[in-house]
Symmetry: C2
Subunit: 280 residues, 2 copies
């Protein structure tokens, strides 16, 4: 019988630990504060931000959401983020992605001070991720590593296949896995024969956002399947794996919703508390 | 019949182009200057530095080698590198690796100003490599990309397998190949069944430094084999591939010596000239 990994339960444990840290910080008159910069009216983004705010407040932190119009320029957005960092001094700052296409994404992300960059998306922190000297892992990467720890995986000697080479999951996860000395394959939309790559994976991480992309015949028996992809059909949320079938062949698998998503929120807030605990 | 890639000939073409750029800069009273920081008495390092200096001078650049004793501390080395950058204002700076084990390598590398970091080893430039916004590629990465261009490879849809996940080749090459949208597998010393990974590679890059690691049965027929590994037996230099046999099965292959090495020197000097052309 395959195991369905309960992301909500794992996240609740992390939240409880973080709440304890928040209590300790409050005794020192520090209330951890997360600033979220949200551009435009993407409903999925709005819903993710809502979840982050809800959990932040639930564990005793502050979370301020700064909203900007879809039409804002890169220059103006950079100025606003700088100003808010200087005046409000949040401990953690994130820019909710995606940004409108006319905005220079990396220019905006680099505006965040490295010590406040709790999503780990500034170039300086990506460099530190590459050299293994980072303070923060990207929350999704932490979520995936946490699941693998819970599954008692020794990454050395394991072959991890990642489907999707994006900036939030594929690329930073590769950086970190290379430091953990795993054998890693990264596939993208141009990969000729995806099944040829995925079917040898001890651990398959998929982060595309395409329903039923990963079928049962594409995985190795007893693989661990971590499904980070998100797509919607109407209001219903789907992962990348054909869940009901893939779960029968996998050793363990994350569901969507209730898999990696809740853990990602938990690690974002934990990063913010770490940032708040660090001396200026 | 397989093709042996002539790294010396390719490098000579790059050197000739760089020499032309040097002439143009000299008309503007700029003489491109490379500073090399060399710690200890590793004979291989000394020989590599000698080659860089010889070629720099041959194409009309200056190259100063600053030598430090094996026993120097991280703190002292950092101070010295800072001082030389401030007073001598070289356009490009490199720290010859490896450094003695007692030295904090990344701390020393980060001392180099990003605009002078012609080896692309500072964390800020590694971050820029990860976001695709770098000014300089690491010279070995440029050498490999140049060979693949010469071989008219379209990296999309190709499966590149890299053996060796080090900081000079495996890790930065992975970063760049992900931006080029190749499918990439990275293996290391813990990889369980190396042959299972390598035998599917359209392009095999090996960067280990272990003679005869890559045998004929480990490659796909008509693969391109780029051999970056270097090891010595007496004074004779070897790559990682069992050259005489592998070359019969490969479409093309780099020899050792005379493959990637000379091109790496050529791209280091080209990076230095680019640095010298950039306004302060």
């Amino acid at each position: 019988m395959s195991k369905i990994i309960d992301g909500n339960a794992l996240a609740n444990t992390i939240h409880a630990e973080t709440a304890e840290l928040v209590k300790i910080l409050k005794m020192q008159k520090i209330v951890p504060k997360l600033a979220v910069f949200l551009v435009g009216k993407n409903p999925a983004s709005a819903s993710y931000v809502e979840k982050k705010k809800k959990w932040a407040e639930y564990i005793g932190m502050n979370c301020e959401v700064y909203k900007f119009p879809e039409t804002i320029t890169t220059k103006k957005l950079v100025e606003e983020i700088k100003k808010i960092q200087q005046t409000k001094k949040p401990h953690g700052c994130i820019v909710q992605l995606p940004l409108p296409v006319h905005i220079d994404r990396q220019e905006v992300l680099n505006t965040i001070l490295p010590k406040r960059d709790v999503d780990c998306l500034t170039e300086i922190n990506l460099g530190k991720l590459a050299t293994g000297r980072t303070i923060f892992y990207p929350p999704t990467v932490s979520a995936i590593l946490h699941i693998l720890e819970e599954e008692k995986v020794n990454l050395k000697e394991k072959h991890v296949v990642i489907v999707g080479a994006g900036i939030l999951v594929g690329k930073p996860l590769t950086s970190v896995l290379l430091y953990k000395e795993a054998t890693v394959t990264i596939c993208n939309k141009y990969t000729k024969n995806l099944k040829k790559q995925t079917k040898y994976a001890d651990i398959l991480v998929t982060a595309v956002g395409q329903k039923d992309l990963i079928r049962k015949d594409m995985i190795k028996r007893n693989a661990i399947v971590i499904d980070v992809g998100v797509s919607f059909k109407g209001k219903k949320m789907y992962g990348d794996a054909e869940f009901a079938k893939v779960m029968k062949k996998a050793k363990s698998i994350t569901p969507t919703p209730g898999g990696v998503g809740p853990l990602t929120v938990a690690f974002l807030l934990r990063n913010t508390v770490i940032a708040a605990s660090t001396k200026e």
